[in-house]
């Protein structure tokens, strides 16, 4: 009984299936492969995107039902001095962090690429920090920045007879101090990508340049840098997005006063986190996420436009 059923079914299905042309069968296979992913992207990516925009026009705070309040959240945001401070901080991370990390990583990659002796070992030294957990290493750096006699940096300074620095306790030094942690963590990735880009330049270019009698500096300026441009553009955009979204380091290095002292280190993502998950002001937080989205989009487009192939 059971066996006849199981025998009959594939046979019947097989017949229907056999009626399809090869092309139709392949189309059915394609959509079978895509079925679950299409649902996933719809429910977990597109619907939430739409919902984030939608929520940004409401005053929802999890307690009372949401009411549409038009552009009120955006008006509040633009009039909020904290937002402008946070906006400035977020760009400070980007404007200082990106050039510094790219210059250092290029210099390291350029020279590391030419080194053969213990190459893998040196590369590993630069690459290791990239493999660490930002939340964990933020605490190590936080310890480094402590005053004498705990903090290593200040102990070294005082040992050398130099004045000690307040670092995380100062409204002026805290942001660069946290940024240094983020630069350190991202450097290994950038070095590896730059080295991949350098390797991709055909050696014939260099040979031709040497035959033409160009020196090392001229080769760097006329051949290496122009041919490395796609890599540089990728890293500029990638690293900028990373700095604009900085959170892990700031959160962990300022737990006693998140984003402090006096909001001087607070980036936009931390402000979003606090508005949404400390104040539960979901509508306002959603408006802040839309602001973040807009900033990321504009900065990426601007960079791609400025750095476009001429």
């Amino acid at each position: 009984m059971a066996s006849t059923l199981t025998d009959a079914r594939p046979l019947r299905r097989g017949r229907v299936w056999d009626h399809f042309s090869i092309t139709t069968k392949r189309v059915i296979w394609a959509w079978a492969f895509l079925a679950l992913p299409v649902v996933f992207y719809g429910v977990i990516r597109f619907y939430p995107t739409f919902q984030a925009f939608n929520l940004s026009f409401t005053d929802w705070d999890l307690l009372r039902p949401a009411q549409y309040i038009g552009f009120e959240n955006y008006r509040t945001l633009l009039a909020d001095p904290e937002f402008w401070q946070v906006f400035g901080n977020t760009f400070a991370y980007l404007v200082i962090g990106t050039p510094i990390s790219l210059v250092i990583s290029f210099v390291v990659a350029y020279h590391l690429d030419q080194v053969r002796f213990m190459h893998a070992f040196l590369r590993a030294l630069y690459f290791l920090p990239f493999l660490t957990t930002a939340a964990a290493m933020a605490w190590v750096w936080r310890w480094f920045y402590q005053p004498v006699p705990i903090g290593i940096i200040n102990s070294a300074l005082s040992g050398a007879g130099l004045p000690t620095q307040p670092f995380l306790r100062s409204t002026e030094q805290a942001l660069p101090a946290i940024m240094a942690t983020a630069v350190w963590a991202g450097l290994g990735f950038q070095v590896i990508i730059f080295m991949a880009g350098l390797r991709a330049i055909p050696t014939t270019f260099y040979e031709a340049a040497r035959i033409d009698g160009l020196g090392a500096w001229a080769i760097l300026r006329k051949i290496t840098l122009p041919l490395l441009k796609p890599t540089t553009v990728f890293l500029v955009v990638f690293s900028s997005i990373g700095f604009l979204r900085i959170f892990d380091q700031v959160y962990n290095m300022t737990t006693n006063d998140p984003g402090g002292p006096l909001n001087s280190t607070k980036p936009l993502v931390l402000m979003i986190y606090q508005t949404a998950f400390s104040s539960f002001d979901m509508g306002y937080a959603a408006a802040q996420t839309v602001a973040l989205f807009t900033i990321l989009l504009l900065v990426s487009l601007l960079q791609l436009w400025v750095l476009r192939a001429k």
Partner: protein, 285 residues
């Protein structure tokens, strides 16, 4: 000079013959040592007693594993470690399966709507995670996913980055291979899984490394979606542990070491593959 006259050397070493190479090498070494200094001091301090913390020598006078014994004694770190491991491995397997399935379909099938699906998936790359966490949080609250493994994992089960990466690599697989399998009567799933997948193994390992690393170190979403210590991932657990320890730096360094050293060892062993994977993904992605 000799480099120019000797053709073999021009070909193999190109512009690499430079004076001052020893100086360059030394500077690179110093820079590299500076890079790993935080790791060295983290490890060194984790081996010191509370009284020795102020002794900033790199080699502890009397190294002890007492901190490790104490930190591990209540089992929290083990729990967080296992949580992180489970989450990262599951999400990685899911990405390796689904991203490559979608990438393969978009690369090797022709059907109406293919371009639309591709652009739709690619467009999600523009949306930052931070914009989606509030809707994800509400969704989790509605379906009871808060403080569950599934709650931590669901946003990352498939990624546009992985799909795009795999599509790029499947495009390099010759159609003849797949056509031959089709003539042999294999079904499309078997062709993808048994024929096409092994041909893109380097890309798969790159995708796996990236996904695992990203999820192992993830902080923002796990921080939001978990609220009991039983469900914390290692980074979130460590953060709460460090806050609780306040100024006991040797304990915090022990926690930080527990959170980073085991994976660093694994990564050191697999370093060649990881560097290759990063290069592969960075150039294609």
């Amino acid at each position: 000079m000799t480099a120019l006259t000797d053709p073999a050397r021009v070909l193999t070493t190109g512009p690499r013959i430079r004076p001052g190479r020893v100086l360059t090498w030394t500077l690179l070494l110093i820079g590299g040592v500076v890079m790993v200094t935080p790791l060295l001091f983290m490890f060194s301090t984790s081996l010191k007693t509370a009284g020795q913390v102020y002794d900033l020598r790199l080699i502890p006078a009397a190294p002890t594993v007492a901190n490790y014994v104490e930190v591990l004694s209540d089992g929290r770190f083990l729990r967080w470690f296992l949580n992180s491991m489970f989450v990262a491995v599951t999400v990685t397997l899911s990405n390796v399966f689904f991203d490559s399935m979608v990438g393969y379909t978009l690369a090797k099938f022709t059907f109406r709507g293919r371009y639309f699906v591709f652009i739709a998936i690619l467009s999600t790359l523009m949306i930052p995670t931070e914009m989606l966490v509030i809707p994800w949080y509400l969704m989790s609250a509605q379906f009871g996913w808060i403080d569950t493994y599934w709650g931590i994992m669901f946003p990352g089960m498939m990624t546009a980055f992985g799909t795009f990466l795999m599509k790029q690599f499947f495009e390099t697989v010759p159609d003849d291979f797949l056509e031959a399998a089709r003539i042999d009567g294999l079904n499309e799933f078997t062709i993808w899984w048994k024929i096409a997948m092994p041909l893109v193994a380097p890309a798969l390992s790159a995708l796996a490394i990236f996904t695992f690393l990203g999820n192992w170190t993830a902080f923002f979403w796990p921080l939001i979606v978990t609220n009991s210590a039983d469900r914390y991932t290692l980074p979130v657990g460590l953060s709460s542990f460090a806050v609780e320890q306040s100024i006991q730096w040797e304990m915090i360094m022990t926690g930080a070491a527990l959170a980073t050293v085991p994976t660093l060892i694994v990564f050191l062993v697999l370093q060649r593959y990881i560097v290759r994977g990063v290069m592969l993904a960075g150039l294609k992605g």
